[in-house]
């Protein structure tokens, strides 16, 4: 793209709109020069500035007694007792992964890990939430192979286990896959290190890799514009990761923190040095003078703007008292991460870029030239905010009223389908089958604290040196979100927290990655607004703080926008890691119990995607008070040892949950499901706030009493045992209504557990055309 071919003014070519240029002039009191404009263009990108989403995000509940750091910091931090705190955050790397899947995903892992150890926490786990188009499409397969390879290639090498996540296929992601990566770290509370630049006179020290031309404009060009598919001209905007360098950076950074050698620490991600210096200065109310010539480079002839906005990976900025510089350099060099003093903290509140050297007080040396001078706040906290227009689509489905299913539901199982065949198709389908093919490519055990990977639900880590455990999951109800973005976001929070609660763990907080479309399109912005509202309402109802997150907009391609995808990451705490529940059925003769009750609404479900739902059938409803009660009930049941296993009912419905319990336990069950309305709703509906638990029959009364105390329905469905899963449908709605109209309805699921297991094990590699 050269000036000759493109008559657009520079600011527009950098993605800065005319009104944004006016706002820049307003903040500077003059027109920006080209370097300043480049710095603004990346810092005022959607990715860095949250200029469309900030007013919405302010509505989220963030506080809470145990929250040590919340949104606005590199990662959320929550106190967990024993003098320890846990840091966690999820972030997107969607567009880089679409352009260059391996490096895009790898640097996504690297970036989120840096957010964790920047706070002083040692990274202990990664989860990856991935979404792609049709798995039979060759391009999808290329992306899946690349992304999975990149996540594994980086995480495996850097020595952080990848313990869970998601893989979902939906046609809406064909042109714009989603790669969201969550990382978790742990640290002594008193190691909390903030990304601030206090103390004028302190040194700005850059350590780690050198600065090159890779990732120029990643934040603005890639992350903050609608995506035109596989545009090779954008490949230079994708960074290249080096996990080996990151591993050294982790060790160096944590040693600096442990020995209290730094006053502040900030990783370099989007917008590179510009972002790191302006954010640290703004947080501390200081300024930073950058000595451009002192920045170590890996390429000749780099222009000042390239140096200032390069997104070269594996770099860190430390704020260091001059007397500690020798120690800092020694630590960095021992770990093979060379350090250079690139500037000084000043009291003037400005980011100043100088060539020709700076004096000890941060002022330009004799004969030096000032290349840029911008108030730090103008780049960060005082960046532009846009009031976007939100408009719901012209026609919106109403959610169904609670109560018996509407008549269209009743038609579904009559379409000549055997519910057993439906169950096999769901369990063995691309979205329902075991993720083993993916997870086997990830080192899930390094650091020797993985108690359970996410094969059967949420992942569990023990906290070494304590009795406690951490439970982590990611989840998103994108199907429902596509029909009702408010409900979808609330449902995502409900599902993710329920995933954690069924293990017995208490959710500590929520991190989120809001993947939406072009915010200048009123319908897309409405989806975002509704999503944030749903997220906030659900978190308030469940008493959980939002500890941080990331907003990824412009997730559109010429093939259309993605389903609005509010990805939710949750970390929970187990007081006693030995006292936890997993989904697998464990013992012959155990009672199978359903906590909660099915509600109507097949819209957005896997069943609807498979069988086709009536377009008038809305998604199920969500009662957040019921959700909170069900979760509290199962946590108490696990903590008191009443239940032997527990699985939440989510994608694929009750029948799928039962099948997973049977497959994972290698043991069958015989249950009866009373059908009030339509069998499809009971078997495959995805109404929330339900959990399948198994318990010793001797504990059944205790479980019923406990459930009653929480106001939660508890119904015995049947008994664990045998080598088949038998689900008999009983009650008025089982066959009667349909048979009266002469329809043939299979009234029972009866499948060998080994057949279910075979379908589940082989479904994903088969869908992707890979060896098992």
């Amino acid at each position: 793209m050269t000036a000759a071919r493109d008559p657009e003014p520079l600011h527009r070519r950098l993605g800065v709109s005319d009104d944004e240029l006016d706002a820049i002039v307003d903040r500077l009191g003059r027109a920006p020069n080209d370097l300043e404009l480049a710095m603004f263009s990346v810092m005022w990108s959607e990715h860095c500035s949250y200029k469309s989403s900030r007013p919405l995000l302010r509505t989220l509940p963030v506080g809470g007694g145990d929250v040590l750091a919340g949104p606005g910091e590199n990662a959320g931090i929550v106190r967990i007792g024993d003098g320890l705190a846990v840091a966690f955050k999820i972030e997107s790397h969607n567009h880089p992964s679409a352009v260059e899947p391996y490096q895009g995903a790898a640097t996504g892992v690297g970036g989120i890990l840096r957010d964790i150890f920047t706070m002083g926490a040692r990274p202990i786990a990664v989860l990856d939430a991935l979404r792609f188009g049709d798995p039979s499409d060759e391009r999808t397969r290329h992306l899946v192979r690349g992304v999975v390879g990149g996540v594994g290639g980086y995480g495996n090498c850097v020595g952080v286990p990848t313990i869970g996540g998601e893989l979902v296929f939906d046609p809406s992601y064909a042109g714009n896959p989603l790669v969201n990566v969550m990382a978790i770290g742990i640290m002594p509370e008193d190691r909390l290190t903030l990304a601030a630049a206090p103390g004028p006179g302190n040194l700005a020290v850059l350590f780690g890799s050198t600065t090159g031309r890779d990732g120029i404009g990643g934040a603005s060009v890639l992350a903050s514009a609608t995506f035109t598919d596989d545009d090779p001209s954008k490949r230079p905007s994708v960074q290249v990761g080096d996990p080996f360098a990151e591993k050294l950076l982790i060790e160096a950074s944590l040693e600096l923190v442990e020995r209290r050698l730094v006053a502040g620490l900030q990783d370099l991600g989007a917008a590179g040095i510009t972002c790191a210096v302006s954010e640290t200065a703004d947080r501390a109310g200081t300024g930073i003078a950058v000595d451009l010539d002192a920045i170590p480079r890996r390429e000749w002839g780099m222009l000042p703007f390239e140096v200032m906005i390069s997104e070269s990976q594996e770099r860190m900025l430390a704020i260091v008292e001059p007397r500690l510089l020798g120690d800092v350099v020694e630590v960095c060099e021992r770990w093979g991460a060379p350090a250079a003093v690139i500037g000084r903290v000043t009291a003037d509140g400005h980011v100043t870029v100088v060539t020709g050297g700076i004096a000890a007080d941060g002022s330009p040396a004799d004969g030096a030239a000032v290349l840029a001078r911008i108030p730090a706040s103008a780049l960060t906290s005082d960046a532009i905010v846009h009031a976007r227009r939100a408009e719901p689509p012209a026609r919106r489905r109403a959610a169904p009223a609670p109560g018996p299913a509407a008549e269209p539901d009743g038609d579904l199982p009559e379409r000549g389908m055997d519910p057993g065949a439906v169950l096999l198709a769901l369990v063995g389908g691309p979205n329902g089958a075991s993720r083993r093919w993916v997870w086997e490519q990830y080192d899930r055990h390094v650091q020797t604290s993985t108690v359970a990977d996410a094969t059967g639900g949420a992942a569990v880590l023990r906290i070494r040196g304590t009795r406690r455990g951490l439970v982590a999951t990611t989840d998103c109800a994108e199907g429902v979100s596509g029909l009702d973005p408010y409900l979808g976001a609330a449902m995502s929070v409900a599902e993710a927290t329920r995933n954690v609660s069924v293990t017995g763990a208490r959710p500590l907080g929520v991190t989120n990655c809001l993947n939406y479309g072009d915010p200048t399109r009123p319908e897309a912005f409405w989806q975002l607004r509704e999503g944030v509202r749903g997220l906030g309402d659900a978190c308030r109802a469940l008493g959980l703080p939002v500890t941080g997150g990331n907003v990824s907009l412009y997730n559109e391609s010429p093939r259309g926008a993605i389903l609005p995808t509010p990805e939710i990451g949750v970390v929970g705490l187990l007081e006693d890691v030995e006292r936890r529940a997993a989904p697998a059925f464990r013992r012959d003769g155990d009672a199978v119990v359903l906590l909660g009750r099915a509600g109507p609404g097949l819209g957005g479900s896997r069943y609807a995607a498979l069988a086709g739902a009536d377009p008038e059938d809305g998604p199920p409803t969500l009662d957040l008070a019921r959700e909170a009660a069900v979760q509290a009930c199962i946590r108490e049941a696990v903590a008191t040892g009443i239940v032997r296993s527990a699985q939440d009912v989510a994608a694929g419905g009750l029948a799928t949950a039962l099948a997973e319990c049977a497959i994972l336990g290698g043991i069958g069950a015989r249950v009866e499901v009373a059908v009030e309305g339509a069998p499809a709703v009971e078997l495959f509906g995805e109404s929330p706030s339900r959990i399948v638990a198994a318990c010793d029959p001797a504990d059944l009364d205790a479980l019923r009493v406990l459930a009653a105390a929480h106001g939660v329905p508890a119904e015995r469905l049947g008994t664990v045992g045998g080598d088949r899963l038998v689900i008999a449908l009983v009650g008025r709605g089982a066959t009667g209504a349909a048979e009266e109209r002469g329809a043939r309805v299979a009234d029972e699921v009866d499948i060998a557990v080994s057949d279910l297991a075979h379908a589940w094990e082989h479904g994903l590699p088969r869908a992707l055309g890979e060896d098992a």
Binding site: N156, C157, F244, K247, E440, Q441, Y442, V446, D771
Partner: protein
Amino acid sequence: MTVRVGVVVFPGSNCDADAMHALALEGAEPVALWHESPELLGVAGVILPGGFSYGDYLRAGALARFSPVMRSVADFAAAGGLVLGICNGFQVLAEAGLVPGALVRNRSLRFVCREVTLVPERLDSPFTIAVGERRPLRMPVAHGEGCYVADDATLDAIERDGRVLFRYSRPDGTPAIGPDDAANPNGSLRGIAGVANAGGNVAGLMPHPERATEGILGSDDGRAIVASLVRSAAARAGGAARVVGSTGAGPTQRATGATA
């Protein structure tokens, strides 16, 4: 004084802390050996841990063999010192020629992390004495280049000399000899998971015993291997060293109960 066992820390090692934790569980005193220092600090045994030493650039383990610490480890091994290379440590030993054969990309061409079963081929090696009986041991593998290969003459020789220490097996202990056997995670020839040098004092093992040392992690079968090393190292260190504080049960109890 407890027996001191060194764990080499290369840049890029990522199982060093796990190996030290496992050694401590067996009552040994783990000692970090920094790659740039040739000093072995008087240890009675050495573990080369898993990870990606020097980023595994060029080839897995190819650069680590040239580090100062590896010259000392080679001398230590030549003098009969006990050296156990796990995963990337096995790759380093093979690159350094301290154990026979080589490790190439998995047959699937994909990284593989899963629990496998292996059986000890002999019970009198310094690395297996605490296993007690020929029984299947469950522990994880996690590697991209773990397919053990050697020419037929070498394979025949190490089989004949009893230098095959471990083979992948089915859960019931039946060896997974064939490279395509589902229980052979990487296509290793003759199902070989671990080998020793001619002197029997240097061993390489692809699976991770240090990741299977506590029941909460899914298996503690790896303790027997770590305990074997600790017990053998203690014996070689003479009366000066003993093993204390083990909380192991079963076979590991027998192993760590012994003092030099």
